[in-house]
């Protein structure tokens, strides 16, 4: 039988003015289980706390009810007070008689009566409290970064800088991501490669960083501090240890007609290739889809020319297993496919390009060596039309995305400006819905495009692009001018919406990290915890969480790294003891709880139970990982048998409070 002590606080006159504290402590002293009840001017003061501790000893209290201010204010204070006096901190309940009573009621009789009822509810609850102990779990001091773009690289560098080991898994043969394909960056117009490639080299040379390029995450098990990840290292057919990256093979390979993915198919490469000169790791890879040797068994040229003997046509995918304490998702983005936007003739004319393709067409290392030429006839274009929001901000329907892709306004301004600067004889038109430039020096940048470089910005959408006689006839509406425009253009550039990489969805399932309807990862809190996923130990970096430009990505990458460092620096994690718990005798194993758990805290095992008459029965039962559960209680309601309950807020405790209040 519990022995409950009740301590009613006056809070000076904050409570005592509208609640008869003496009457409250008197009334509550008659409640079942209460062996001591008193009131005092300031319970949270040193003297008040000592009074509580003395009463705990004197009356051998097993539970404590404090009638005072909100538990949000002093619950922790009083828990510690009681813990110091030798009772479990979770044997304390607070009746909120200040914020939710004395401060909102003027009539003392009313306030007193309500305070008594709130006190009773707290007593009823504490009678059913059980001592709770926060468990701990060890932390593996190593992080995994999934995705080796600028987000992943920056996160890895920052984590490594703090002294922790970090692995990068990148599905392409090289790290670097989208930024490697970009020519210049806004609003400074500095060269993307010049700022990115040193970071790639840093990552490669950092002894704390291990790069698994041409690899993918295959399976994730475990929880915060204790993840076990299976990584698939795809076969390159080139021994990474032996290849020197000399590139001879890529020059001698007879298979020349492979679309060059790095240049978005605007030119070709060989079947054995290094994506670009500054690739990290600089190792050749055989494209199995095109390699004659792998397909027919006849060729072997690369093997013959490789002096290092690195070519291995029999290489297989390998699976490795690693342990991590934290995982950072940095899977990035891709421009959307434009199949559904036939009106812009993207699939009918090579001169209709996406903005990313334009980046390659303007890049010195690109297919045209940096000279802007029309893909169709390699001539200099004179009139260019940029179309904004292609697939962005599409309401409803199957076509496009509902969100703003955020980066297009700025990179289009950049493209327009660069073209006008390099080729003053061109006319550049930009069709837009809105121009959005919220960012440091962004609006100035856009104004320069309009004012200094004479780019024609026209509010309105392009209705149709018709390729005819080597020209592109652009029909568009000029909303401000109130007229229909027809422009005879040489090239049309589409600012295609960006979407999360396709690999993100299956990855989210593996990580039990939640995603929104657009497949962007959701944050633990949209405002206050923007770089953490709701699943403990999973962090978000870059455009996988939402469209972002490079500085934002780098900032978030650093933020994610600091959260990871904050986790890895701990030897043990203290768990919240108010977590869900499943009674295995009542569990049906139906998986309802698992489906509503936002944290992936629930797993299932088959367990053998003893049945009647010496029989045994194998049953599937749920198990809650207390290190992962955050204690929301969604599972408790999804569970029809009531096997799942929440410690600290159990069904019994809440119903006892209800009973006490309605009595």
């Amino acid at each position: 039988m519990q022995r409950i002590g009740v301590f009613v606080c006056w809070c000076g006159s904050n409570i005592a003015a509208t609640v008869d504290v003496e009457a409250v402590s008197q009334a509550l002293s008659h409640e079942a289980g209460v062996v001591f009840s008193t009131n005092y001017q300031y319970m949270c003061s040193q003297a008040g706390q000592e009074m509580i501790q003395a009463a705990i000893h004197e009356h051998r209290l097993t539970g404590v009810v404090i009638c005072s201010c909100s538990p949000r204010m002093h619950e922790n204070t009083f828990r510690k007070t009681c813990e110091r006096a030798g009772i479990n901190p979770y044997m304390v309940e607070i009746a909120n008689i200040r914020e939710q009573c004395s401060w909102i009621h003027k009539d003392k009789a009313v306030g007193t009566e309500k305070a008594i009822i709130l006190g009773r509810a707290a007593i009823a609850k504490v009678l059913l409290n059980a001592p709770l102990t926060a468990g701990t779990s060890p932390v593996t001091k190593r992080a995994l970064v999934i995705g080796g773009g600028i987000a992943g690289i920056q996160t890895a560098l920052d984590i490594a800088d703090a002294g922790f080991e970090v692995d990068i898994v990148e599905k392409e043969p090289t790290i670097g991501g989208k930024m490697t394909q970009i020519d210049k960056t806004f609003p400074t117009l500095d060269c993307a490669a010049c700022i990115l490639t040193p970071k790639m080299v840093d990552a490669a040379q950092n002894e704390k960083i291990k790069i698994y390029a041409y690899s993918q995450v295959e399976a994730v098990k475990g929880f915060v501090g204790n993840f076990t990840v299976t990584i698939r290292r795809k076969a390159r057919y080139v021994d990474e240890e032996k290849c020197t990256g000399c590139g001879l093979c890529t020059e001698k390979c007879p298979q020349k007609k492979v679309p060059n993915a790095f240049n978005l198919g605007l030119d070709t490469r060989r079947a054995i290739y290094i994506p670009f000169a500054q690739a990290v790791p600089k190792i050749a890879t055989i494209d199995a889809d095109y390699c004659t040797m792998l397909k027919t068994g006849k060729c072997g040229v690369c093997s013959k020319v490789c002096t290092a003997g690195a070519i291995d046509y029999h290489q297989q995918d390998t699976l490795i297993e690693e342990h991590y304490g934290a995982i950072v998702v940095a899977t990035g983005y891709n421009p959307i496919q434009l199949d559904q936007f036939d009106e812009f003739a993207y699939s009918h004319s090579p001169d209709v390009v996406t903005s990313l393709e334009l980046e390659r067409l303007m890049n010195a290392a690109g297919p045209t060596g940096g000279t802007l030429l029309r893909p169709s006839d390699k001539t200099h274009p004179h009139t260019l039309v940029f179309v904004q929001c292609v697939g962005s901000r599409c309401d409803g329907g199957e076509k496009g995305k509902p969100y703003c892709s955020k980066i297009c306004c700025m990179y289009t301004a950049k493209h327009a400006m660069l073209i006008r600067e390099k080729y003053p004889d061109t006319e550049v038109y930009v069709f837009y819905i809105d121009v959005r430039t919220p960012g440091k020096n962004f609006d100035e940048f856009y104004r320069r495009a309009v004012e200094e470089y004479g780019v024609h910005y026209i509010k309105g959408m392009v209705g149709k692009v018709t390729p005819q006689n080597g020209k592109l006839y652009v029909q568009a509406a000029d909303l401000l001018g109130g007229q229909q425009l027809k422009i005879e253009a040489d090239m049309v550039v589409l600012a295609a919406a960006i979407e999360p990489d396709k690999s993100a969805r299956p990855l989210a399932t593996m990580l039990t990290a939640s995603m929104d309807t657009n497949d962007f990862f959701t944050e633990a809190h949209p405002k206050l915890r923007p770089v953490e996923s709701p699943t403990a130990g999973i962090f978000l970096s870059g455009a996988c969480q939402g469209p972002k430009d490079i500085p934002e990505t780098v900032a978030q990458a650093g933020a994610a790294a600091s959260k990871v460092i904050g986790l890895l620096v701990k030897d043990h994690l203290v768990c919240n003891p108010c977590v869900a718990e499943s009674n295995e005798l009542m569990c049906n194993g139906c998986s309802a709880c698992e489906k509503v758990c936002p944290y992936g805290a629930i797993t299932y095992i088959d367990k053998e139970f003893r049945g009647p008459n010496r029989t045994t029965l194998l049953r599937r039962i749920a198990q809650v990982n207390p290190a992962v559960c955050q204690g929301c209680g969604a599972c408790t309601v999804a569970c029809p048998s009531g096997a799942m309950d929440l410690k600290g807020f159990s069904n019994g405790q809440i119903m006892a409070e209800v009973d006490a209040i309605c009595r």
Binding site: K106, G631, F649, V658
Partner: protein, 146 residues
């Protein structure tokens, strides 16, 4: 409950710890009045509210039950209030189907910053239930021997 011949409804308000309970605290901090008929029970999240608790409250003499949680999209646990919303939508429809007045149950999203909304909501809810009168349809006469 009748007090001096006047009907005084008993109202149970389940408030999520992160938004609505804090909103209720804020309405106290700002000294915004609402009737003492409302008694708050703190739960970690609106998704912790089991329909059994609501029925229990009515059985034990409550005349109205209200659930307050974070606004959709703002749940501390990201998805709790979305589940709660579906559960309560269906439960309230079922109660109405059984002839229980729909006014007796309500869901309101109140953020930690909405002290004024919390007080206004409670004032309105108490007024509604007072108009509606005593809960007779989900009562347990055994618990009415006051």
């Amino acid at each position: 409950m009748q007090v001096n011949g006047q009907f005084q409804p008993t109202i149970v308000a389940f408030c999520c710890n992160w938004c609505s309970y804090a909103g209720a605290d804020l309405s106290g901090t700002n000294r915004l009045q609402y009737p003492a008929n409302v008694k708050i029970i703190r739960i970690p999240c609106s998704c912790r509210l089991n329909p059994m608790f609501i029925l229990r409250a009515f059985q034990r003499g409550a005349d109205g039950v209200i659930l307050c949680g974070c606004h959709p999209g703002d749940c501390h646990y990201t998805s709790g209030n979305y589940f709660a919303r579906r559960r309560m939508t269906l439960l309230f429809n079922m109660l109405e189907f059984l002839g229980i007045e729909r006014e007796r149950t309500r869901v309101e999203w109140v953020s930690a910053a909405e002290g004024a909304k919390f007080a206004a909501t409670m004032n309105d809810f108490v007024a509604t239930i007072t108009r509606l009168g005593e809960n007779k349809r989900l009562e347990d006469l055994r618990c009415k021997s006051k």
